[in-house]
Every structure is written in structure tokens, then in C-alpha cells.
């Protein structure tokens, strides 16, 4: 399992395709012929994997867009999702 501290500013692989399917999102990895189903939170986190945002700033950005959510409380969720992205080889 990837250590979340090693992720830094996550960068999404550019060759992946993210598309909404109904109420969920699908991330298609053509190179590995795999598709991943994301919920809305994970899809939003994916869009912040641009090399510009650190883990903490991703949590803060999501909190800003979702009133009532405290950035500190979702740090763990962001870390879990990023770790999963890294483990699945979805980040550069």
C-alpha cells in the first residue's frame, strides 16, 4: 500500500477517461483495460489531481464548495482516496 505522505501533489495520468454514468463516475484505464467506479467525492478529488494541489489544499477546496463540511474532517477521506488512486496506478 502506498504511503500517503509520498504522494505530495498528486498528478492524474493524462491518458485516463473520466465520465459520469448516472449518479456515479467511471474512470477508464485503457492501458490496463480496467474501469473504476467512483462516487462523487472521489470524482471531485480526481479533478484536483493536477499537480497544483497538495492533499490539504484539496480538502480545503472541497470544503469550500460544500458548505457545512469541515476541511479537517475530510482530510482522512481525501487521503484514503488518493492512496487508492496511487495503489491502482492512476497517478503519475
Amino acid at each position: 500500500m502506498t504511503s500517503v505522505n509520498a504522494i505530495g501533489r498528486p498528478v492524474a495520468r493524462a491518458d485516463l477517461v473520466l465520465r459520469r454514468v448516472g449518479s456515479e463516475w467511471v474512470l477508464y484505464d485503457a492501458a490496463r483495460e480496467r474501469a473504476h467506479v467512483l462516487n462523487l467525492t472521489a470524482a471531485v478529488i480526481w479533478t484536483y489531481c493536477d499537480g497544483e494541489h497538495e492533499r490539504a489544499s484539496i480538502a480545503e477546496a472541497i470544503a469550500r464548495e460544500a458548505p457545512g463540511i469541515d476541511a479537517h474532517n475530510i482530510r482522512g477521506d481525501v487521503d484514503d482516496v488518493l492512496r487508492r488512486f496511487a495503489d491502482e496506478g492512476l497517478l503519475r
Binding site: 491518458d15 477517461v17 465520465r19 459520469r20 454514468v21 448516472g22 449518479s23 456515479e24 463516475w25 467511471v26 477508464y28 485503457a30 492501458a31 483495460e33 474501469a35 467506479v37 467512483l38
Partner: protein, 265 residues
């Protein structure tokens, strides 16, 4: 008798606007048996009429799936238009796709196909494939309309070994669903169908992945990386507004009724 069967077979192919081809042939030998010819394959010799017909249907489908086929791709799925909403029905072979589509047709809805559906990446639309429905004899017990047509050898129906080939055009003249994006995907799982017959909401994302796999696992024409990614991208794009359902129970008539009610909501 043979002439009558041949007439039925001729009409078993649904009406289509595509230009006719002469790629396949069916001939009667002097000995009374039949010879089936398909492109780049050895002749099927000394066959009965039903064997020859089943062989040609099978070969034509395989050729369609494996051929270049232009820009369109084909999905191993069934589909119907219910209350002007397109429903894709996916599931493994033997899960009951054909039976469910037949029940929907009997209830007055149009169909896309019972085993094969066309997808056009350019406009993200699914459309019908002109091909007979293949129905197991046992499934016709609670579909008296189709059963009576088959029993009387109505035009467009043919009894083969253990199954009927039924042209959708034999059930209704305007059988083809209009090309459009799907409203719903229904997953038919051969097992895990606990509970009373009906439909239950399922994961939209998982249904999207399932549909994608059903294209890529069969479609040899989209193996090149960039093209393949583009096809998947367009396929997923077509499913943006889709709602996923999972069939429960084992009574296809009740599942069809539940699907119809949901589409009419």
C-alpha cells in the same frame, strides 16, 4: 413442407433498409439434404434444414461481430424501447435476455435486439440489429401469442432444434426501436436473483463498466489504443443519464411489467 419452411425462413430475417448481400447461401442437394455456404468457411454439407439455418444465423452473427463493420461497434446485449425510453438489457448467455425482450414485445414495445445491439460512437446512439430472436421452446409457455404463431408456422417463425427463430417483424411490422441514448440498463444475473420478481435500483457506475466490457470483450475492431479509448469514452458518454436496475426473481413476465411501470413513471 420444405417449401413452406423455406418461405418462413426467408421472412425470418427482419425487414431492413440495408442493401441485400449474397454472402450466404442455402442449397438443397439432390439427395434432399441441405448445404449451407458462408464466406471463407467450409460448406456445411448433408445438413437438415434446421441445422443449416442455425449454422447460417450463427455464422452471420460471428461475421458481424468480427468484421470491420465500419465505425459502428456491437454490444452483446438485448434492448427494447419502453414508453419511448431505451432500455439496454445485459447479462451472460442464458441469463434470459431474449425472453425478457420477447415479453416486452408482446406487451407492445419495440425492440433493439435480443442478443446484439449496434452502437454508433459518432452520435452516441444505440440502434437495432435486424436479426431473428432465438427463443428456447420452454420460454414460450407463457407467451401464447408467439407460441401460436410458431405452432402454425406463421411467416417469420421457424422451429429449429430446441428453439424458435422468430422475426420481430412477425410480431409487429414496425418493430425497430428508434436510435437513441439509453434511459436504463437492466442487469440480468443468471444467479443471485433472490426475492420476488421485479427490478431494483443498482449501481449506475457498475452498469456502465459492465456495458463497456460487453463491447470490448466482443469487438475486435476497436483494439487500437487511441481508437479504443475513444469508443469507450463515447460509450460512457452515452450512459451519462442512465439509471441502472438489477432484475430480481425469475418470472420474466413480471420483470417486464415492472420495467414498463418504471419507464412510465
Amino acid at each position: 413442407m420444405a417449401a413452406r419452411a423455406l418461405q418462413a425462413m426467408y421472412h425470418a430475417a427482419p425487414t431492413t433498409t440495408a442493401p441485400p448481400t449474397l454472402r450466404y447461401g442455402l442449397h438443397r442437394s439432390r439427395a434432399g439434404s441441405y448445404v449451407a455456404a458462408s464466406p471463407e468457411r467450409p460448406l456445411l454439407m448433408d445438413a437438415s434444414l434446421t441445422e443449416a439455418w442455425a449454422y447460417l444465423e450463427w455464422r452471420a452473427t460471428e461475421d458481424l461481430l468480427n468484421g470491420p463493420g465500419g465505425v459502428d461497434v456491437f454490444l452483446h446485449a438485448a434492448g427494447a424501447e419502453v414508453a419511448q425510453r431505451l432500455v439496454l438489457i445485459v447479462g451472460d448467455s442464458g441469463a434470459g435476455k431474449s425472453t425478457l425482450v420477447a415479453h416486452l414485445m408482446v406487451r407492445g414495445h419495440r425492440m433493439l435486439g435480443d442478443d446484439l445491439v449496434r452502437f454508433a460512437p459518432q452520435n452516441c446512439r444505440f440502434s437495432a440489429v435486424g436479426r431473428s430472436m432465438k427463443l428456447d421452446v420452454n420460454t414460450l409457455k407463457d407467451m401464447p401469442l408467439i407460441a401460436s404463431q410458431c405452432a402454425s408456422a406463421a411467416v417469420g417463425t421457424l422451429l429449429a432444434a430446441g428453439c424458435y427463430y422468430v422475426s420481430p417483424a412477425a410480431i409487429r411490422r414496425d418493430w425497430q426501436a428508434q436510435p437513441r441514448k439509453p434511459w436504463a440498463v437492466v442487469l440480468l444475473d443468471a444467479g443471485a436473483r433472490d426475492g420476488p420478481a421485479g427490478i431494483a435500483r443498482s449501481s449506475d457506475g457498475e452498469a456502465g463498466v459492465y456495458v463497456t466490457q460487453k463491447v470490448l470483450s466482443r469487438e475486435r475492431g476497436v483494439e487500437v489504443g487511441a481508437v479504443r479509448t475513444e469508443v469507450v469514452s463515447r460509450l460512457l458518454e452515452s450512459l451519462a443519464e442512465v439509471a441502472a436496475y438489477r432484475a430480481t426473481g425469475h418470472d420474466p413476465a413480471t420483470i417486464a411489467e415492472a420495467l414498463e411501470k418504471e419507464a412510465l413513471r
